[in-house]
Structures are given as structure tokens and as C-alpha cells.
């Protein structure tokens, strides 16, 4: 019986330790210091609708793969909507990139890349509000206005 009590204590201690390590606060990221992967940027730039965050309307560097770049009809649709998506192929997370200017040059660059080319870009992290089942959530999209803010690295 004493053994059982001791085991229970160890078990409880380890569970509390696990819970504590899961709830550590995130670091503060400076979004234009290095190229962040899409997952990091998407996770960092999300939160409650009631708060104003340090990343809102700030420049951000991001790297990832263009989602659907091998699909011409999808890219045509993206062109007509002046947007495309950048994906982290490790996690499946993607972010929306909205184009405010220089659309022809930007898509000219995108049409020349391969699916396996990682692209690096600089834009402005812009907050967006969405209502889901879990209530109001703040997310982000990236605004870009120049083909010069995109560079490509072939894999």
C-alpha cells in the first residue's frame, strides 16, 4: 500500500511537470530579423481578438513553398484574386499572401519557379479577424507590393 502511495506521488509529480512545461510562455520574436518558417509566423501572429499584438502591421520575413504553383488553373485563380499561399510542407500550415501592387511582376516570378523551390519574402503582417466555432480568433495575412520582396532558392 505504501508502494502504491509513493508511485502515485511520482506519477502526479511527473504529470504536473509535463503540464508546466506545456504552458511555458512563448518568446518574443522580431519578425524582420531572420526568415521565419510559415508555421512559426502563423502561430506567433495569432491570438485573441481582444488584444493588440506587437506583430500587427509590422514588417515580417518568411520562407516557404508556394502552394499549388504546379497547377496552372489554380494560379490563374490566385492571379485574379491577387493572392497566393505560402506553405510549410512539414506541418501543412499555410498563410495567405495578398498582393497590393506589382501583381504582374510578382506572378511572373511565381510562374518561373518549381514546386520544390523555397521562396523567401518580406511583407507586412496584417491582422485579420475570423469567427469560428471556438469564438473570435485573430490571425494574419502578409501584404506584399513588389516583386523585389521575393527571392527564390531552388532545392
Amino acid at each position: 500500500m505504501r508502494n502504491l502511495k509513493n508511485i502515485s506521488k511520482v506519477f502526479l509529480f511527473l504529470l504536473v511537470l509535463t503540464a508546466l512545461s506545456c504552458n511555458k510562455n512563448e518568446e518574443t520574436l522580431i519578425l524582420d530579423s531572420v526568415y521565419f518558417n510559415v508555421s512559426d509566423l502563423s502561430q506567433y501572429c495569432s491570438g485573441s481578438c481582444d488584444e493588440i499584438y506587437d506583430w500587427e502591421n509590422k514588417p515580417a520575413l518568411v520562407k516557404g513553398y508556394v502552394k499549388g504553383v504546379e497547377n496552372d488553373s489554380l494560379m490563374q485563380e490566385f492571379y485574379s484574386k491577387s493572392l497566393f499561399y505560402l506553405e510549410d510542407i512539414r506541418t501543412g500550415v499555410f498563410i495567405e499572401i495578398r498582393i497590393t501592387d506589382d501583381k504582374d511582376a510578382i506572378f511572373g516570378k511565381l510562374y518561373s519557379i518549381q514546386k520544390t523551390d523555397m521562396i523567401y519574402m518580406k511583407g507586412v503582417a496584417t491582422p485579420v479577424i475570423s469567427d469560428g466555432e471556438g469564438g473570435c480568433i485573430k490571425g494574419m495575412f502578409l501584404l506584399i507590393d513588389s516583386a523585389g520582396s521575393i527571392s527564390v532558392e531552388g532545392s
Binding site: F11, L14, E27, F36, N37, I89, R90, K115
Partner: protein, 197 residues
């Protein structure tokens, strides 16, 4: 702290070989389960299979220690992103009698896991690693024969070591995975008689 998979595997093998020489009551377990992922790096992954082989040595009345080696296979739906988690662990478990034919077995395991993350389509490959803590609960059906059977529920928490090429966020350094499945206990032949525990 970086440990190599080879060193870990060798340590577990030596531990199992050492305990295997013991005259104490011992058994092997083999189990298979279906995994489920939670917020963190693998949130969008489909859990698939969790396989585990363990060796358990009776050290006191109802108390067992041992080692286990687990493999977990995860895949990102509709893509070629796949992850294999290698999980060597040390185990402490306690058998609580629950009627004549059943034991409830709470178990705690600690280990060091290696995650091989790959996407062949993009030529991406990464090896991440970190400490693993894994509470588990089993419902053991004692058949009175050389093999017993159990149902298990297992939670694996892996805290990956810091690698900024992989991620800057703690959120993605946490892997939370549960598995539910079935297993078999294979007792050493000379201990296959009716059990005390």
C-alpha cells in the same frame, strides 16, 4: 545535449540483456495502437500506428521496472510528409488487482525520443530529438496461461531540444500524442503458473 540513436539503442539493449539474466519474474510485452495528435508540430498529422516492445522485471510485490522501445508512424494527410518517432524508454509500473482476472496497471515511462521528419517530394529531411515522458494506463486480463492480454491508453509528451532551423517557438517543440490499443504479455515460461500479482 545530443544523444545518438545508436547509443540509446545500445543502452536499452544492455539493460534488457542484463535484466533478462535475472531470476526474478519477468515478461515481455508487445502492443499496437492507433495514435491521435494534438496542438503542436503534428497537429495536422493523421495519427496512424504506435508499436511498442517492452521488457518488465518484477522488483517488489506488484512493482515492475523495465525498458521499452516504441515506434510511432505519423503522416500528413494528402502529402508525402511522414514522421517516424523512435522512443526508447525506461518503465516503472504497478499492478493493482481488480477482481480475479484483471489488473489495472498505471505506468510511467521516461525516455529520449528521435523524430525523423521527411517529405520526399521536396527532398526535406530532419532529425529532431528530445526528452519523452509517457504516462500510461493498462487494463490487464490475466488468462492464467503463458500469455495475458491488455488494453492500453498512452500519452506521449516529447519536448524537443532547441533548434532554430527547425522552429523558434516552444509551441512546435512540444509533441503531444496519445495512443489507444491492445497488447500481449508473454511471461517467461517458468513463471507461467498462476500469478500472485
Amino acid at each position: 545535449m545530443l544523444l545518438s540513436p545508436r547509443k540509446i539503442a545500445l543502452s536499452v539493449f544492455l539493460l534488457l540483456a542484463f535484466t533478462g539474466l535475472s531470476q526474478r519474474k519477468s515478461n515481455w510485452t508487445v502492443d499496437i495502437g492507433k495514435t491521435q495528435t494534438y496542438p503542436g508540430f503534428f497537429y495536422l498529422y493523421d495519427g496512424s500506428v504506435d508499436l511498442s516492445v517492452g521488457y518488465h522485471l518484477n522488483i517488489a510485490d506488484n512493482l515492475f521496472v523495465g525498458g521499452a522501445f516504441g515506434l510511432q508512424f505519423l503522416g500528413l494527410n494528402g502529402t508525402q510528409s511522414k514522421t517516424v518517432i523512435y522512443k526508447p524508454k525506461l518503465i516503472l509500473e504497478y499492478h493493482i488487482r481488480s477482481g480475479k482476472s484483471f489488473n489495472i496497471v498505471p505506468l510511467i515511462a521516461v525516455g529520449y525520443s528521435f523524430l525523423k521528419i521527411k517529405n520526399n517530394e521536396y527532398g526535406y529531411s530532419s532529425l529532431q530529438q528530445g526528452f519523452n515522458i509517457s504516462p500510461e494506463l493498462k487494463l490487464l486480463w490475466k488468462t492464467g496461461l503463458q500469455t495475458d492480454f491488455y488494453l492500453f491508453g498512452r500519452y506521449d509528451y516529447v519536448k524537443l531540444i532547441k533548434d532554430e532551423d527547425f522552429t523558434f517557438l516552444n509551441y512546435y517543440r512540444n509533441a503531444n500524442i496519445t495512443s489507444f490499443g491492445i497488447g500481449v504479455v508473454i511471461k517467461r515460461k517458468k513463471h507461467a503458473q498462476p500469478e500472485k500479482y
